[in-house]
Structures are given as structure tokens and as C-alpha cells.
């Protein structure tokens, strides 16, 4: 059964396009990465799913129920973590979490203890005194405390240190193993790669592609910078998968998509002073491969 299903979902803010014709489905038990550059429509899609905003046309269902019509009912089983977290500032963490828990017809105190323990979140502190990272932790706990079937995360990891990020991903994997479904939006490809089963790519409000993680990894995007001893030969790298090739004096820079062995053999033929092979940012991938 599809947990989330959108059909031609479109949202315009007046004349400004938010998203257009977004059709996707998320299956039970899967982690779907929803990636795209800033302003691509990730948050718009999520806000429609949560009926914070209403679609201009098209429809979305969660657990088979229309999000506009059955919003409150659906939300019993949704945990949401916004990208930026703001809470009632004069509250203590414990009070806020208890307030959040009061909306669900179950006892959440055990989960609150468990998750805050895992994240090392001090429940007695005032929200206004918390650092950004700690507020994010409050965001994680308030989103998961009612043990929801569907977890929606909007760029969740910003502000978390690497160790906490690891703990957080462990937590998500546990949820997945417990049969929960996760919708994970991000603009960082590597983050999504670590954890997602499939990836939906959105750009300028339109869904470009949905790929399985294996396929995306196979594609293996690399940004390559070479500094050669002699004047660089521009002909060497004219092969499929290479784009944005720039050759200048003894500098070569390119984007590569494909088998890494092919490119490493080519590089090995050159007398190098220095080389950098890194991960291109998402913007670059979009610019050169998803036009």
C-alpha cells in the first residue's frame, strides 16, 4: 500500500509557482529521499502533505485518505520535523514535549525518555536557552514521541554535530526496521545516500526523476580537478559522462558520471602535480545532468 500518494499536485502562491504536477508515491516501510536545491519546492510539497497549505490543483493522499479532507485524522500517525525549529520560548523542554504529547491519545512519556536519552537532550532546560543544535534535538523528539507510522523530515540534520547525526540516522534506521515509513527532504546528496531506498529529485517545482539508490550510486558523480606538469591536453577527457570540462594551461576541471575505473585509468596516464576528486554539490549535478 502507498503511504503517500500525490497526483499532479500543484501549488501556486498567487502567480508564483511553488510546485507543479508532482506525482509520487511512497511505499510502506521505505525511506524516500526528496532532494533538490533550495527553493525547488521541497517544503511546499511537505506543507501541502501536512495541510498547512492547500493545493491549487491535483490531490494528495496519506494512508489512502485525502490530506485536505482528513487532515486531523491522518496527523495522528504523522511525525513532522520542520527545517527550522521554533517553539513557545518561555517553556521548558519537558513542558513543550508534554504539550506535544497531549495531542495524542496515548502515553508518550516512555518514548520521550528514550529518545531524549539517546540524543542527550536535557529536559529541564528552557527552550530559549538552547543552542540551535539542541533545538533541533527537541524537534526530533517532538516529531517521534507518539511513535508515528509516517515520519516527515524537512532538512533535519542541519545544526547537528556528526556524532548526533549518526545517532539520528541510527534512530531512523530503527524506525524503518519497525516498519515505519520515512519521507526525508534534503539538499545534501551524500546525506540522502547514506540512508534512503529511493530518491525523488525536484527542481524548479517539478519532479524530475525518481531513482533507486543503487542507480544513483552507480552514476557516481565526481568533481575532478587536476594540476598537470605539462600543458594539459584537452582531448583526453572527451568521453561520455564528462561535462563542464575546462582546460586552462596546466589545470583541468570536469564533472564525471559513470564508472570510476574508467576515469581513474585516464588520470593515471597523466603526469600530475596535484589532484582532487570530490563530490559535486547538488546544484552542479542538476545543472549538468538534469536539464
Amino acid at each position: 500500500m502507498s503511504i503517500i500518494e500525490t497526483k499532479n499536485l500543484t501549488k501556486y502562491y498567487g502567480k508564483t509557482k511553488g510546485i507543479e504536477d508532482v506525482s509520487l508515491s511512497v511505499q510502506k516501510g521505505e525511506i524516500l529521499g526528496f532532494i533538490g536545491p533550495n527553493g525547488a519546492g521541497k517544503s511546499t510539497t511537505i506543507r501541502v502533505l501536512l495541510s498547512l497549505i492547500y493545493p491549487t490543483s491535483g490531490s494528495a493522499t496519506i494512508f489512502g485518505k485525502d490530506v485536505v479532507q482528513y487532515g486531523p485524522e491522518i496527523k495522528r500517525e504523522i511525525g513532522y520535523m520542520p527545517s527550522e525549529v521554533f517553539y513557545y520560548e518561555n517553556m521548558r523542554v519537558k513542558e513543550l514535549l508534554e504539550y506535544a504529547a497531549s495531542f495524542y491519545e496515548k502515553d508518550c512519556s516512555k518514548r520521550i525518555k528514550e529518545i531524549s536519552g539517546l540524543l542527550k537532550l536535557d529536559l529541564t532546560r528552557k527552550i530559549s536557552d538552547l543552542s540551535y543544535g539542541n533545538k533541533k534535538k527537541v524537534g526530533i523528539v517532538q516529531g517521534l514521541l507518539h511513535d508515528p507510522e509516517l515520519i516527515i523530515l524537512d532538512e533535519p540534520t542541519g545544526g547537528l554535530d556528526p556524532l548526533m547525526q549518526k545517532n539520528f540516522f541510527e534512530l531512523l534506521k530503527e524506525e524503518k526496521n519497525a516498519g515505519k515509513t520515512i519521507f526525508f527532504s534534503s539538499h545534501i546528496l551524500s546525506e540522502v545516500q547514506k540512508i534512503c531506498d529511493r530518491v525523488a529529485i525536484i527542481r524548479d517545482g517539478e519532479l524530475i526523476n525518481i531513482e533507486s539508490m543503487e542507480h544513483l550510486i552507480q552514476n557516481n558523480y565526481k568533481r575532478v580537478h587536476l594540476t598537470t606538469r605539462q600543458k594539459a591536453d584537452s582531448g583526453l577527457f572527451k568521453l561520455p559522462g564528462v561535462s563542464d570540462l575546462k582546460v586552462e594551461k596546466n589545470q583541468i576541471s570536469l564533472l564525471y558520471k559513470g564508472d570510476v575505473n574508467t576515469i581513474s585509468r585516464l588520470i593515471a596516464q597523466i603526469d600530475l602535480v596535484d589532484f582532487i576528486v570530490g563530490e559535486p554539490d547538488l546544484e552542479e549535478i542538476f545543472m549538468h545532468y538534469y536539464r
Partner: protein, 263 residues
């Protein structure tokens, strides 16, 4: 009832402050009445004040010699103070989640927007009723202690009761603005101009004539008549009720359909 309880808690301190302010306004004027009413020199000075000044502060011929006259003056200021409180409360409570960026937190819970608004409405009505009951008790006590020849209890209740009716209008009007306007950054920046705007409109009563009573809450009821033992006009009571209910219904309709702006 969780939203109701939270709002009650979060608005408790400001409500206490407003109650104190209302009592202070009344106490100040009531306490000086015994000394000025028996001092012809003071009344003469006030008589010579410019017309515009007297008008702005609601000073009439017998403001300073008869208690019912002075009480009309007191009530004028009490209404103004109470209006600001009510407008702040109404505007504040409906615009709060967007202003404080807690809309995402609250509205992604399994609760309908109607229920959120209903609980907020309940909160502000309770707070206004409590404010008025406490204020009126203190006000009556002050009058009993300080004034030798106070007016009847019925006259007191009728005239001071206009505070609740005026607040009813402002709380509903604020509730509407808070729901309709997409993003209110500062509540006071909306509520003060609205309240003082209406107050200023009320100053043009001689110019506008009888119809002024439909144009500003400060002229819905003729305070001078009420403090002198008069009654409400039934038509005006209906008018206030219709306006308030219409504003509240519109709030619910708009709030349910509006897009919540993102953080």
C-alpha cells in the same frame, strides 16, 4: 482542551497587569473626586479648559460636581483601556502561531483548525469575563469607600457593563484581524491604531450627529445617559452582537482556508 489551557497560562500575567491598570485608572479619578467636587476653584479651572480638550477626555458640565458626571469620565478612560486590552488579546491570540512561528508545531498535530480557534476563543472570553468581574468588584468597592453619595448598584452595573460590551466588539474585531492578515509582526502596531482610530472617530460626534453610534464602539452606548440611570437601546445591543458574531464567523471561515506562511 490543551490549547485552551496553554493559552490561559500564557495570557495570565498580561491579564493580571491589565486588571491592575483598569483599577488604577478608576481609582485615580474616583479618589480625587471628593476633594475637587467641594472646591469651586478647581471646577472653575476645568470649566475654562478649551472645548477640544474637554471633548477628548469626555468632560461635561457636571463632570466635576456630580459623581455620576465624573463616573462618565472615568468610564470613558476605562473603556479606552479595556478596548486596548481586548484588541490586543483578540489580535494576539489568532496571529500568535504565525508570529511566534509555532504554527508548524501546532497545526501538524491531530487537531482541526476549527478546534484550535474555538479553544482560543474560549480563552479570550474567559479572560475578558474574569477581567471585568474583578474590575467591577474593585470599582464598586472603591466607590463605596470613597464616595459619600454614590449612585445605585443597578446604575453602576448598567453603566460599567458597557465595558464588557465594548470589549466584546474589540476582542472579536481583533480575532478577525489576527486570522485574516497573513503575518502580524507586532500586535500593538495593529491594535493601537485600530483602537485609537475608533476613539478619534468618536470625537466627531457633534459633526456626524446621531449616526456616530454606528461608527465607533466608543459611541455604541451613551455613557452620560447610562451613568445618569438610563437604559441601553435594545437596537444597539443587537447591533454589537451582530457585528461581533459576524467577525467571529468570518474568522473561522478564513482561518480554516488560509495558507499558513512558512517560517
Amino acid at each position: 482542551m490543551n490549547v485552551f489551557l496553554l493559552e490561559l497560562k500564557q495570557n495570565r500575567n498580561s491579564t493580571i497587569a491589565w486588571i491592575i491598570a483598569l483599577i488604577a485608572v478608576a481609582a485615580l479619578y474616583i479618589s480625587i473626586f471628593p476633594s475637587i467636587s467641594q472646591n469651586p476653584a478647581v471646577t472653575d479651572i476645568y470649566k475654562n479648559f478649551p472645548e477640544a480638550f474637554k471633548k477628548t477626555f469626555g468632560i461635561t458640565e457636571n463632570s466635576l460636581s456630580v459623581f455620576s458626571g465624573l463616573y462618565a469620565l472615568v468610564l470613558n478612560l476605562v473603556l479606552l483601556t479595556g478596548a486596548v486590552q481586548a484588541m490586543n488579546l483578540g489580535t494576539g491570540i489568532t496571529s500568535k502561531e504565525v508570529r511566534e512561528r509555532t504554527a508548524d508545531f501546532l497545526l501538524t498535530r491531530p487537531i482541526s483548525r476549527v478546534s484550535v480557534l474555538r479553544q482560543k476563543l474560549l480563552t479570550i472570553f474567559l479572560l475578558i469575563v474574569v477581567t471585568d468581574l474583578v474590575f467591577m468588584t474593585a470599582d464598586w468597592a472603591l466607590i463605596q469607600v470613597l464616595i459619600d453619595d454614590p449612585f445605585q448598584f443597578k446604575t453602576f452595573i448598567t453603566s460599567t457593563g458597557s465595558l464588557f460590551l465594548v470589549q466584546l466588539f474589540f476582542v472579536s474585531f481583533g480575532f478577525l484581524l489576527g486570522s485574516v492578515l497573513p503575518r502580524i509582526k507586532s500586535v500593538i502596531a495593529v491594535s493601537l491604531p485600530a483602537v485609537f482610530g475608533f476613539y478619534i472617530v468618536g470625537l466627531f460626534d457633534t459633526l456626524v450627529g446621531e449616526k456616530i453610534k454606528y461608527m465607533t464602539p466608543f459611541k455604541f452606548f451613551n455613557i452620560n445617559i447610562l451613568t445618569a440611570g438610563g437604559e441601553y437601546e435594545p437596537g444597539m445591543l443587537i447591533y454589537v452582537a451582530v457585528l461581533s458574531v459576524a467577525a467571529l464567523i468570518a474568522s473561522f471561515v478564513v482561518y480554516q482556508k488560509k495558507d499558513i506562511p512558512s517560517l
